[in-house]
């Protein structure tokens, strides 16, 4: 058949709104491939079997073995079902999203999708809901059991609605994590492992940070809302115990505001969802783009600082921020609890360390590769411009890293100031010169990392991370475990790692710090020594960076 010339017109596209997901071509494509009767049938059979088994056996135990009243017996199924649903959407769904995305790249069909005349956001949404569509259907198939439990268990709407709303936003957060991992990591197996590792880490490692004052991180999980909802979901006897425990638990506050857990969780997760969606949209628009623009990255970094501070500061005066308070509540009677100075020092150090790690991550996201810089310079030289545009991906991110380091140091100082000058440590104060040292710590760590990355590339940074960042910490840990006599030596060796410098800064600069005598002598000297070395090395790296960039610019001028 020949092509009819009359018909040879440019197709007039119908572009449905981003939010009409059921009209999204990518979503529909995955509905077609992932909801085929055979695969879906088996998945549903297994899901319903497990959900049904949990439902009937737990009801039977409640009604016939423990002789609970019918209402409590029905409630008994809710939490196990929720855990099962979380496994389906959080684990299987996330794995499917990251693996599916990598498979698209592996097969080579991702280029077709790039060319589709859909907006980047439409593509992101298509994949976000399309790739795990079978898992959504599996989740839906468990809902009748949950609905029965909620109805017969007489669970209030105000209990289950926020819980399931957060369940969904948490799912989106994890699925976007998987989508981003699948987009960035090219190997299918690695993408799967990294995304599942991130979800696992959120529920195991991150809660530990929350115990040390970085409360924000736990709101990236469903945990806070889950625990808040528990009394309403459990049988009455168990609910009473949990409710009593909750009365002792710290309340959620954000600066002066008392926000419900669910609202605050949405607030926290919303920022992460927005940032991840922005990263993905950039990648869909241009595959070579950096994950975030410079301004976006600084904004995101500042937003994390605000969340960290907003959560932590209101908890200082009641004492709920201190890890020992939790222990005292559970195991010690009486009200003579007071935080220890070492806790405050550790928390300040941890805050600085986490800020530095986030600074590293954001630096990685916005720093152009050498190849990108060369291309950028050639482009501006061809266009007869003198320099790269400030916000261009190819332009140096050194200024932006410095801004983030300043913002981070200020946040760290505010946190430390509020902690040390609180009612718990009378007579202690944090002078302004501490801020200068915090700036020096984050600047030397952040800018050194950046200068190495921008001038030498990712491989050099990976080697430096291993041999300068991690190995000294490992050796220090081994030395300190071997013998107490080796503690000062361990302190010196660990101090090589820039990651440890915030902890050293807190231990050295805060008047409240109480270290054993030999460590109290070694720590300040080690801190000042390594800070000086780090500053000198960073200055050298920055000088080298300028030479490299100048070389690229001159070469581009010669070529054009």
């Amino acid at each position: 058949m020949s092509v009819d010339p009359v018909k040879f017109l440019l197709a007039e596209p119908q572009n449905p709104s981003c939010w009409m997901i059921w009209q999204n071509a990518i979503f529909r494509r995955y509905c077609q491939s992932r909801l085929r009767s055979k695969g879906l049938g088996i998945a549903l059979l297994i899901t319903i079997l497990i959900a049904g088994f949990l439902f009937f056996i737990l009801r039977a135990i409640g009604l016939d073995r423990t002789h609970l009243n019918p209402r409590d017996a029905e409630r008994g199924v809710l939490i196990p079902l929720l855990v099962f649903q979380a496994l389906i959407l959080f684990v299987l769904g996330t794995a499917q999203v990251s693996g599916g995305m990598t498979a698209e790249a592996d097969e080579g069909v991702i280029d077709y999708q790039r060319l589709l005349p859909m907006s980047p956001l439409q593509k992101v949404l298509g994949y976000l809901f399309g790739l795990p569509v079978r898992e959504y259907v599996m989740f839906l198939s468990t809902l009748p059991f949950t609905a029965w439990g909620l109805w017969k268990g007489e669970v209030a709407l105000g209990v289950w609605l926020p819980l399931y709303a957060i369940f969904i936003t948490t799912t989106w957060t994890y699925h976007l994590t998987g989508l981003l991992t699948g987009t960035v990591v090219r190997n299918r197996r690695w993408a799967f492992l990294v995304s599942i590792g991130l979800v696992f880490g959120l529920y195991t490692v991150v809660p530990q940070m929350a115990r040390f004052g970085l409360v924000f991180f736990k709101y990236l999980t469903i945990t806070p809302v889950f625990f808040e909802s528990m009394p309403g979901l459990l049988p009455r006897t168990a609910a009473a115990v949990v409710a009593t425990g909750q009365k002792l638990a710290p309340e959620v506050r954000f600066f002066g505001l008392n926000l419900p857990e669910a609202v605050f969780t949405v607030f926290c997760q919303g920022g992460v969802i927005l940032a991840f969606a922005a990263m993905l949209c950039r990648r869909w628009r241009r595959n070579e783009s950096l994950l975030l623009g410079k301004l976006w990255a600084v904004g995101f970094f500042g937003w994390i600082q605000i969340l960290l501070l907003g959560n932590a500061l209101p908890l200082i005066d009641p004492g709920n921020l201190f890890p020992s308070r939790e222990v005292a509540r559970r195991f010690l009677a009486g009200s003579d609890w007071a935080p220890k100075a070492i806790e405050a020092v550790g928390m300040s150090g941890l805050y600085g360390m986490v800020t530095l790690l986030i600074l590293y991550a954001m630096t990685r996201v916005i720093t152009p590769s050498i190849d990108m810089q060369i291309r950028g310079w050639r482009r501006v030289r061809k266009q007869n411009h003198g320099s790269l545009p400030l916000f261009a991906d190819a332009s140096s991110s050194i200024g932006w890293v410095a801004v983030m380091a300043l913002v981070g140091a200020f946040g760290w100082y505010v946190f430390t100031h509020a902690l040390i000058e609180s009612r718990w440590f009378p007579g202690h104060f944090v002078p302004l010169q501490v801020l200068a040292f915090f700036v020096a710590v984050l600047m030397s760590g952040g800018l050194g990392f950046h200068a190495l990355l921008e001038s030498k590339g990712g491989r050099a940074v990976a080697l430096a991370t291993i041999f300068v960042g991690l190995v000294p910490l490992m050796i220090g840990a081994i030395l300190s475990t071997s013998s107490n006599r080796l503690l000062p030596a361990a302190l010196w060796v660990s101090g090589i790692s820039p990651i440890s410098s915030p902890v050293y800064a807190a231990a050295t600069l805060l008047s409240v710090s109480e270290l054993p005598p030999d460590l109290a002598r070694a720590a300040p000297i080690a801190f000042y020594f390594w800070l000086t070395i780090s500053s000198v090395v960073t200055t050298g790296l920055i000088v080298r960076l300028f030479i490299v960039r100048e070389g690229i610019a001159v070469r581009a001028s010669g070529e054009s």
């Binding site: 092509v3 040879f8 080579g108 280029d111 060319l115 589709l116 005349p117 628009r285 241009r286 595959n287």
Partner: protein, 316 residues
């Protein structure tokens, strides 16, 4: 009537680190033309195609497709471009019609019924109506190429960019492809195509360009390109009855002779010169007493030219 320009490339450059894949390429293609891009591996063909298809940002340069600057208005450009990559992949989890229907829906090609009709049209165009219900993963390489070509035609693009579309096709399918591309060009579409089968490309294209190491070597009609690259080069075969070594030695002394070899009774050599020069050479051989039973000349083919271009790559 003067045809308008469908593809306008100016000073296009693509770098991979220090490697220059495309070096200041400038060319334009008129509307309704089938334009061939020829070159050995590493010539910069695929990089050029990926830039044209908006899949890669060039280091610099300007590319206007159907009046749309692809660097300024990427989404508008994507509406008018149809791109078929080299070794075109297909998703393993879809049937042929589902793959095409997905793309038709993504391009917003009317109602479901209209999309179904368009999918059927395109399948018929590439001769795959019978494979509609087949799984993409189960069809042959050649059929896969044709499915992707059908996908590329779906939204009736103004500019078709086809990277090695004939690879994997049998001779019959190649002939059909040639006819299909000509029909498309006749309807006003501009086809930009690359191939390693150069003779075939010369047959199907109204214009050609030859690239090597990122640079444009020749550009124009098939004859223009041959003239630009091959100059007056030709291969001459002489069959002599005796004294082969002596004849070879004598020929080797002539300045216009190169690449001389003896195959049985035949002496085969390249000759670069005018018709008069060629006549003088023949006369000289007769005067030297070499008994010739045959004398044959052949102009360098596209294949010869490209082989020579590719060999320059290796030498460099």
């Amino acid at each position: 009537m003067q045809k308008s320009t469908a593809i306008d490339i100016r000073y296009l450059r693509v770098d991979y680190g220090n490697y220059v894949a495309v070096d200041d390429l400038t060319l334009s293609v008129s509307e309704g033309e089938v334009f061939g891009l020829v070159g050995p591996n590493g010539a910069g063909k695929t990089s050029t195609f990926r830039v044209l298809a908006t899949l890669m940002e060039p280091t610099y340069g300007e590319v206007i497709l159907g009046g749309v600057d692809i660097l300024e208005n990427i989404e508008a450009a994507r509406r008018i471009v149809g791109y078929m990559p080299d070794l075109a992949p297909v998703p393993s989890d879809l049937k042929v019609w589902e793959f095409l229907e997905f793309h038709a829906a993504a391009y917003g090609l009317g109602t479901r019924a209209q999309r179904r009709d368009r999918v059927a049209e395109c399948l018929e165009e590439v001769g795959l109506t019978g494979q509609r219900e087949s799984w993409c993963r189960e069809i042959s390489r050649g059929q896969t190429q044709r499915v992707v070509l059908a996908k590329t035609l779906l939204h009736r693009p103004k500019v078709l960019i086809l990277d090695e579309p004939a690879s994997g096709l049998d001779p019959l399918a190649r002939r059909d492809l040639r006819h299909a591309l000509r029909r498309l060009a006749a309807t006003g579409a501009t086809v930009f195509v690359s191939s390693h089968i150069l003779g075939e490309l010369a047959e199907m294209c109204s214009s050609l360009c030859v690239m090597n190491r990122g640079k444009l070597l020749a550009y124009g009609s098939a004859d223009d390109v041959r003239a630009q690259l091959g100059k007056n080069e030709k291969t001459i075969t002489v069959r002599i009855l005796a004294r082969h070594e002596e004849a070879a030695s004598w020929l080797g002394e002539q300045g216009s002779v190169y690449d001389l070899r003896i195959t049985g009774q035949e002496l085969i050599f390249g000759f670069e010169g005018t018709a008069d020069g060629q006549a003088d050479l023949l006369e000289g051989m007769i005067q030297m007493g070499f008994r010739m039973s045959a004398f044959q000349e052949k102009h360098s083919s596209f294949e010869d030219i490209l082989v020579r271009v590719a060999e320059t790559n290796r030498i460099l």
